[in-house]
């Protein structure tokens, strides 16, 4: 018998091979295997025959001489053009069905996907694959140490340019007892900074501020800030900015990176003319005739890149609870000049705040200090709780505001008559509350509330 066309697969019907469907007397297995569903599996053609239909729809080489109507003759062709809702019509299934094995293709969803995949073009498949890999790599990137290294690398995220120094163990050693609350403050503060640093790829240097006989010159006791900054500059050669943080500080918004929050737009935030906010009433700029125009200008050279010391002012003047210094020759000079025995000898009775007063003195008298000092609005790096600077009530310049999501809170002066641990705890919880993600919101605002309404018991999830 000659064929007018080559055998080709018919979708859903298997090979339209003439040899298989010839009326050979036995067009179906005598006995089907008992499948998992208990019904015998039959060949398609035999089923058609059994159902009284007029046999296979291959009229050109059908040997069956039966009378067939239009519908029975074109049944297959019509049905294949209809949309299919099950994958079981796939021809490949016929072999696998009824073998007594669990078959993945019984799962309708997967089967459907398979079917979609089967009908999809090669190009589309490649595109989907690329998309899939892109998604996968993004997920892997954000859920692996890769993101950490990306953020750290100086030419990518630039995290190595920032080092946080945390002055811990204040007054430890011989000066005072450290109780449970002090330990708790320290633990929370350190954990907070560690988490922040880990998130953004910065470096954290925790320094021991305990009172010790550290210098041959005993005058210099508790002036260690300067030396720690200098040590950190040496220890982290890639660091560009050193951020000093007192122990009683809490980073309220760990999702703010220093780059985004401050340094990428430094020129917008920094103010160099102290007259903008001048609680100390320092006359600015200097007016001495022997100084050059840059020193006489209220804003130095006006370029934010020349700012080497960034600090904020509270109600009483400079505050060194949270400040930045940049690695530069200027900074070396400042750190070198900050403590001077002659100045100390003359002023140590007046200078209750040591470094802070010394810096104010330097700023007031030295043009070269003013040129490279910039101030940030206090609430950008150093918000106060309502207890600090409380004489004039709440000041939007100074005090923390939840609505504005201030970056850092500094519980300045809490050791004098206020409850350090209480404040720290409250801010910790507030920070957590403000930065909850979907899962935390779900379990706390939904599940726990539901549980409470049902059982009357409060639960912490």
């Amino acid at each position: 018998m000659s064929l007018s066309r080559s055998p080709s697969p018919v979708p859903g019907g298997g090979w339209a091979s003439p040899g298989l469907n010839m009326a050979s007397g036995r067009s179906s297995p005598t006995r089907g295997f008992t499948g998992s569903n208990g019904t015998p599996v039959m060949w398609e053609s035999s089923r058609l025959k059994r159902n009284g239909a007029a046999g296979p729809g291959y009229p050109s080489f059908s040997t069956q001489k039966t009378q067939r109507g239009f519908f029975s003759r074109h049944m297959r062709r019509l049905s294949t053009t209809l949309p299919r809702f099950g994958a079981n019509t796939n021809y490949a299934d016929k072999e696998k069905l009824g073998r007594g094995r669990w078959s993945i293709h019984n799962v309708p969803l997967l089967g459907r996907i398979r079917a979609i995949m089967a009908r999809m073009g090669r190009k589309m498949k490649i595109r989907l694959l690329i998309l899939f890999f892109l998604l996968l790599s993004i997920i892997i990137f954000y859920n692996s140490p890769l993101i950490y290294y990306w953020r750290r690398t100086p030419w990518l995220g630039g995290g190595q340019k920032f080092v946080i120094i945390l002055g811990a163990n204040v007054g430890g050693g011989v000066m005072e007892w450290k109780g449970a609350r002090e330990w708790a403050i320290e633990r929370d503060s350190v954990r907070n900074k560690k988490k922040y640093v880990k998130n953004w790829g910065y470096d954290l240097e925790i320094v021991d501020m305990s009172t010790k006989k550290r210098y041959a010159h005993e005058w210099r006791e508790s002036w260690e800030k300067v030396d720690f900054v200098r040590t950190a500059l040496r220890k982290y050669p890639r660091a560009e900015w050193i951020w000093w943080l007192d122990l009683n500080t809490f980073i309220m918004e760990p999702t703010y990176s220093l780059q985004d929050h401050i340094f990428n737009t430094l020129d917008k935030h920094v103010y160099r003319d102290i007259n903008d906010y001048n609680p100390l009433n320092i006359s600015h700029p200097l007016t001495d005739a022997y100084l050059d125009p840059e020193s006489l200008s209220p804003v130095g050279d006006g370029d934010a890149r020349s700012v080497n010391l960034l600090l904020s002012q509270d109600c009483a003047g400079f505050n060194l609870g949270s400040f930045f210094v940049r690695r530069s020759d200027w900074t070396d000079r400042l750190l070198d000049l900050w403590w001077d025995p002659v100045a100390y000898e003359q002023k140590h009775m007046e200078w209750a705040h040591k470094e802070q007063d010394a810096l104010e003195q330097l700023y007031t008298s030295q043009a070269w200090i003013r040129k490279h000092t910039g101030f940030l609005p206090q609430r950008m790096i150093n918000s106060f709780p309502t207890g600090a600077c409380a004489d004039n009530g709440n000041d939007t310049r100074i005090h923390y505001a939840q609505a504005d999501r201030d970056f850092v809170v500094n519980m300045a002066g809490c050791e004098w008559g206020r409850d350090c641990w209480g404040e720290m705890y409250n801010f910790r919880e507030l920070s957590y509350y403000l930065n909850r993600m979907y899962w935390e919101i779900f379990k706390e605002d939904f599940v726990a509330v539901l549980w409470f309404k049902l059982t009357g018991q409060k639960v912490k999830l």
């Binding site: 340094f263 990428n264 050059d292 370029d303 890149r305 940049r326 070269w368």
Partner: protein
């Protein structure tokens, strides 16, 4: 469409390639490669020139252009000293500056040295001794000549004796200075534990001092203009030091700064006295000999102005002769 036979190729192939509508180089496959390369290039550009990349860089500061190359600063005490004497001192500095103002082939004083004079009492010292004027006058000279390269402070009881020597060659040239400067040398004699740095290079030196028998001498020193110079002078002039009543005022303040602050010491070189600061008598230091750039009448000021004027006579004649001959 199917044909029984594929269309025939021409038996005589054409001698040229058929022209396509597109540019020959831009095949589809090649376009893809070009697009990918472009993307990669853009990504690279983004990484390199990202805003955070260069933003934290320090602002570049223009180095001084060197006009004038050097300034000679002198503080005059018009109340104590006679006008004639001070005029001789002024004339000495101005003539020295003019000698180096004459560029070959040029008539004017283009690119020449400048002399800068200040008077005791010009500046408000907050009650500190008048000798502090020298420090602030130096600072003023840096402001007046922001493009000068070197500033040479020379005490009023001193004369420039050798007009041929230039500050930038005689003292401040890096190679020259490497040989001149004393390393590992106690900054305050005889046995200060603070010594000049051993690894300091001539090109890094920003200020050159000398020592006489008492210690650092502030009667003659050379400073290189720059940020460091301003820092140094302003620090030295700090009100804290002025208020401290150092026994020798600014000289002891300097010794204090140098010993306590390594950022100052790291830029400081000590050279032999006869390089810039030879004395007229050898009781307190190295004695002047012919050919030295300058001579200082170091001890007369303690006696009185008349002593200085008397001692100066012979030197005034000498420098006038030397200037005339050069």
């Amino acid at each position: 469409m199917h044909f029984a036979y594929p269309p025939r190729k021409a038996s005589n192939p054409r001698p040229y390639l058929p022209r396509t509508s597109r540019l020959p180089g831009l095949r589809r496959s090649r376009l893809k490669v070009i697009a990918l390369a472009g993307l990669a290039f853009l990504a690279l550009v983004y990484l390199v020139a990202r805003p955070s990349g260069g933003r934290h860089g320090a602002a570049g500061r223009r180095p001084p252009s060197g006009s004038p190359p050097a300034v000679v600063v002198t503080v005059l005490d018009e109340k104590l000293y006679s006008t004639g004497y001070l005029d001789a001192v002024r004339e000495n500095r101005v003539q020295y500056a003019e000698k180096h103002g004459m560029l070959p082939g040029c008539a004017g004083a283009v690119g020449g040295y400048k002399a800068f004079f200040a008077n005791v009492g010009d500046y408000d010292l907050d009650g500190a001794p008048g000798s502090w004027t020298s420090v602030v006058a130096m600072r003023h000279a840096l402001t007046t000549f922001p493009d000068c390269r070197y500033v040479w402070f020379l005490d009023q009881n001193a004369f420039i004796m050798n007009p041929k020597l230039k500050i930038e060659d005689h003292v401040m040239k890096a190679s020259k200075l490497d040989g001149l400067m004393k390393k590992e040398f106690p900054v305050v004699p005889p046995d200060s534990i603070i010594k000049t740095f051993s690894h300091l290079k001539g090109k890094d030196v920003d200020v050159v001092f000398t020592q006489d028998k008492d210690g650092l001498s502030t009667g003659s020193f050379v400073l290189r203009n720059g940020e460091w110079a301003k820092f140094f002078l302003e620090t030295w002039f700090g009100p804290i030091y002025r208020a401290y009543n150092f026994q020798k005022a600014e000289t002891h303040a300097l010794e204090h700064i140098v010993q306590w602050h390594p950022t100052v010491l790291a830029k400081l070189a000590i050279v032999d006295q006869d390089v810039i600061n030879a004395y007229s008598k050898k009781t307190n230091g190295v004695e002047y000999k012919d050919g030295d750039i300058a001579v200082r009448l170091a001890e007369c000021a303690a006696v009185g102005p008349e002593a200085c004027e008397a001692e100066a006579q012979s030197f005034v004649q000498q420098w006038r002769k030397a200037f005339r001959n050069s």
